[in-house]
Amino acid sequence: MGRTLFEKVWDSHVVTHDEGRPDLLYVDLHLVHEVTSPQAFEGLRLAGRKVRRPDLTVATMDHNVATGDDTPADPLSQQQLDALATNCAEFDVPLHATGSGREGIVHVIGPELGLTQPGKTIVCGDSHTSTHGAFGALAFGIGTSEVEHVLATQTLSQRKPRTLRIHFEGERAPGVTAKDLVLVAIGEIGVDGGVGHVIEYAGPAIEALSMEGRMTVCNMSIEAGARAGMIAPDETTFAYLRERGVEIDERWRDLPSDPDAVFDREVVIDVATVKPQVTWGTNPGMVASIDDVVPEPADEAAERALAYMALTPGTPIREITVDRVFIGSCTNSRIEDLRAAAAVVQGRHVHPSVRAMVVPGSACVKVQAEAEGLDQVFTAAGFEWRRAGCSMCLGMNPDVLAPGERCASTSNRNFEGRQGAGGRTHLVSPEVAAATALEGHFAVPA
C-alpha cells in the first residue's frame, strides 16, 4: 500500500521503534525563541547536560521585541531576551538577535534563511511551527519540557498521529486569498476538527498557491487542532528554495503522497464558492463571509463570544467598524502580504477613526519592502511602519489593544484578550485588513 507524505517523513526519522513505547524521532531542525526556552536551558544546566547538536539549532528573538524604533522592551521582556542571549552563548547555539539583520518571527526566518526544507522534521516551542509544513516538512509545536528533551537528545518521543487530507477543489475567485481558504477549512471542521491528526492540504487550489500562501495555510493548522499541516513539495517549492541558495535533493520528488495512499479522514472543500472571510467570535472557527451577517448564536459558547465581541446577531459584517488594523504575524507578514496590502492602500488614506500598523515578519522582509518603496506607500497612507517582531499578534510587547478596542488583524488567534485584555480581534486577510483600514469598517479592496 502507498504511503502519505507524512508517513514518508515520519518513517525516515524513526530512531527507535519498540512495542509499548512511542517512537523516538530524530529532529533535523530545532528553532528556539525567548519565551519557551529559558526553563529548558535551566533544566540542562541543573542536570549538567549540554545541547547535543547546536549546529541543528537556531534561535531568534521575536515575541517580546518592541517594534517601535525607539521603544525599549519593558524590563521583564528584556530579562527574557537577555536570558536567551546568555543561554545561546553558554550552549553554543547560533542566535539571530534583534539588530543582527537576520532576526524576525521564528516561522518567517526559518524559510527565509533556507533552513526549512522538504522531508525535514522541524520542531519549535511554538504552536505555529506548523507553518514549515508548507515545504513538505513535518513541523510541529512542542512545550518547554520537550524543548529540553530535543536540546539534550536531538530526538523527540512521539506517538504517531492520524492523517487527515483536506482537498481544495476548484479555483479561487478574484480577491480570495490563502487566508480565506484556511479560515473556511477551520470553520468547516471546527477548532478541534484536527485534534490528533496531521493535515495534508491538497488539490488544485493549493498547488496554485505561492510558497508564502502555502505557509499561511499551514500556519493555521493548529487553529483546527492539528499539530502539523503539510503540503507536497513541487516545482514552486524548489524554485523558492533555489532562490535562497538551497540545492535541490532529487529524493524530495518522491515525498508526495502515493496515489493509493490512504488517509484516516478526508474532507473536500469547494473553493469556487469561497468569499473573503472575517471571524466574528473568540476562536478562529467562528467565521463568516464578508457578505454575511453576524450569526444567531448556536450555543452557549457562541453567546459568550458575541457578548465579549459586543456584536448583535443580524448585523452585516461590513457594517462593523474597527478602531485598529494590524498587518503582521507569522500568518501574514511576508513580502507578498505587504505587497498585496500596499497595492490596496496606494494613494489613499487610512480612515480618520482608525489607527493602523504594519509590522514586517523579519528584518529581511523589512529591508526588501523598503527597497520596493512599500514603507513609503504605507506611511503616506497613514499606517505606522514598524520593526520586525510578533507585535500585536499576542501583545507580549508594547503593541496591545486597549480594553474594548476592535481590531481587524491578519494574525491567527482571536481568543479573548489575545491582543490585549478586553481587546476584540477579527481575523482577516491582508487585503481585507488594508481595505478595512481605509473604510473604517470591514471591506474588500475597491
Binding site: 527507535t16 509499548g20 530524530y26 515575541h63 504552536s127 492539528a226 488567534r413 484578550g417
Partner: protein
Amino acid sequence: MKAFRSVTSTAVVLDRADVDTDQIIPKQFLKRIERSGFGEFLFFDWRKAPDFELNHQRGKILIAGRNFGCGSSREHAPWALEDYGFEAIVAPSYGDIFRQNSLKIGLLPVELPPEQVRDLMDRARAGEELTVDLEVRTAGGHPFELDDFSRKCLLEGMDEIALTLRDEAAIAAYESAHA
C-alpha cells in the same frame, strides 16, 4: 517530573468547551524565566468576574469541556494549573500540545466520553469527592484509557531525558547513517 498515583478530592467544574491556553495563563505572565509561581495568575482575566467558576469551588481535580487547552504550546498553562493545586484534569478531549505538556510535568489529563464527563460534573457539583486513580485507570469509577508508557512515566515520575539518553547508541547510529 512529579510522580502521580491517585488523587481523591472535591472537583472544580468548568463547563466550557475550547478553553484556550491564552485564558489559562495570559501572555503577560509568560515573561518569567522560572517554572514556578504561575498559579496565582491562572485564568487571570476570567477570575475578575465574581461568578467565575474557580472563584467559588475548591478541589484538586478540574473537570472541563471538550478541547481543553487548545491554542498555544505554552507549558506555562499546565504549570499554572499544577501550581494552583490541580493534580488531574478530566475532559472529553484536549489540545494535543497541552495534553502532551501536562503528561510531561505529572499533571494527569484524563479523557472520558462526554456523557461520563457530564456525570462527573453532576456529582462534583453535588459536592461528592471523586477519586482519579492512575494505577487502575479510573476516574470517579469510570475506566479511562492511557497508554502503558505514559502511565509508567507518570507512576514513576520518570526523567524522560535520562531514559532517551540510554538510547545513545541508536541516536549515534542514526546520525552516522544520515550524515
